[in-house]
């Protein structure tokens, strides 16, 4: 037990590690992902799209696995899979029940295919595992340029469409009556999620996408109801999780997924507690 704990939590040689170029690349990647994921998270939560994000991530995994097998770029495969999934889910709009089951169907099929592709693939085993848990240490400058472009792209689109998106996400019926093209925005939002997810999957893994694009939003919603403050908090939570997780995972040399997910989860727990006490004070 102690053996495991000391292996999990160690900051040995952390100074030297942080000086390494690939570690710095990893930190920049984590920081960029934190911005996009954090900004999108409150809207994902308001739209009830946690499951759709998970589905998109799994389809990015399928696309990545197919690309691995075909010998083409994993990123291209992941983008193709995620955008396809995003468009399907986006078309389903905000009708919860139907969307839920369709995502389940598509996700199961995609995951099955992905497992098959990986089994057929005869290359390095770490490539396979990396799709699920990520291999942030392999981030190179090309990845950073792509990640940076996606971050800027998502932020620009959000700057233009934020108000109608917020309207359509939180108050769809009145938004529609006011002429907001809710269906078009559903598609747009699904594409934003798809790109973010697709870029994130090869770097941080399919599992981690959910941890950073849903948990920060869910946590923020527990402590504030201001859309702006919720977004700021979600970005902070995403950054703390991603950067903290990356740093903690360095010395043990373990995948960052577990660390990031744990920190994000602790943020959520903390917010729930704060929210609960606040609720009592308000009533009492």
């Amino acid at each position: 037990m102690n053996e495991y704990l000391s292996r999990l939590f160690t900051l040995e040689n952390i100074g030297e590690l942080l000086a390494l170029p690939f570690v710095q690349n990893a930190l920049v990647a984590a920081a960029l992902l934190g911005v996009v994921a954090g900004v999108l998270a409150p809207l994902i939560v308001a739209r009830g799209m946690a499951f759709a994000v998970h589905g998109t991530a799994e389809l990015a995994f399928t696309g990545g696995a197919a690309a691995l097998l075909l010998g083409i770029s994993v990123s291209v495969g992941a983008v193709a899979g995620a955008v396809a999934a995003g468009l399907v889910f986006g078309f389903l709009g905000v009708r919860q029940r139907e969307r839920d089951s369709v995502i389940g169907v598509v996700l199961a099929f995609g995951l099955g295919l992905g497992v098959l592709f990986l089994a057929l693939y005869e290359g390095r085993a770490s490539n396979k595992f990396g799709l699920l848990t990520g291999s942030i240490v392999s981030v190179d400058s090309t990845n950073l340029v792509v990640l940076g472009s996606v971050t800027v792209g998502v932020l620009v689109v959000l700057a233009v469409f934020y108000r109608p998106l917020l309207f359509a996400s939180t108050d769809p019926e009145v938004a529609a009556a006011r002429g907001v093209p809710t269906r078009l925005l559903s598609l747009l939002f699904a594409v934003l999620i798809a790109f973010t997810t697709a870029i994130a999957v090869p770097i941080v893994g399919a599992i981690l996408v959910l941890a950073v694009s849903v948990i920060p939003g869910a946590a923020a919603a527990r402590v504030t109801s201001s859309p702006l403050l919720a977004t700021v908090l979600a970005v902070v939570f995403a950054e703390v999780s991603l950067l903290g997780g990356t740093i903690l995972s360095l010395a043990p040399g373990l995948p960052i997924s577990g660390y990031v997910a744990t920190i994000a989860f602790l943020c959520y727990l903390g917010c729930r507690l704060v929210g609960r006490f606040r609720g009592r004070w308000r009533i009492g």
Partner: protein, 287 residues
Amino acid sequence: MANVAPTTQRARTPGSDRPVTLRGAALRFGDRTLWDGLDLDIARGEFVAVLGPNGSGKTTLLRVLLGLQPLHAGTALVEGRPPRRGSGVIGYVPQQKALAEDLTLRARDLVGLGLDGHRLGLGLRGRTQRRERVRVALESVGATQYADAPVGRLSGGEQQRLRVAQALVGDPALLFCDEPLLSLDLAHQRIVTRLIEQRRRAAGTAVLFVTHEINPVLPLVDRVLYLVDGRFRVGTPDEVMTSESLSALYRTDVDVLWVRGRLVVVGADAVPHTADDHHTMSEDDRR
């Protein structure tokens, strides 16, 4: 409670003094006719109640005038122009619905979305003016106290007051209400009705009020549009709400009784509802 008065005077197009004009309007879903040959003029400041069983096309009529749905035949004019999607001349009050408790939206945000939620860009300019208009709208419905409260934690009555503020903050010439009193208790039904009535008196805002229960608004209603299975009748409540006229509409024996100042319609419920009862504005919820 302060007056629900217009914050600015909207410039009206001359010669378009009628907020709503319908001529020979027809709407069909598949081979089912919701209504056909519908003529209706709504005057400024007029209160028109739209009644009828589920699936008779009450909400669809609002969708047509909001520019969300084209007519199959006939013409529709709103403020003298063809209905235009996203037009600011119409304020919309929906049915009260439960909102998620942790929805990241405060009362003031909900009202603010009614003002500029359909606009692109971040809206950084004119923030002071925006804040002031939202403040006035919140005050006008007596919601100042809970302006910063999460909307999901407010009571149904408080939410519907906000809905009125949200619809009026943009200073509309027309107010569309789609079952705004449903699931409210009597006290809150009165408050919401009074807010709508104050606005109508103060600003001459025409009101199109979809409801299945006319009694809470009966004293305010100028005219009734009663839709049943493709047939309709327009007139004052005295003309339309009679046993004779409703029996003709429903094609079965319907009795209209007055009990302690309330209208009771007996027999209309027995008519089977033919349509699927979707009752929503959002296109995401429709096929």
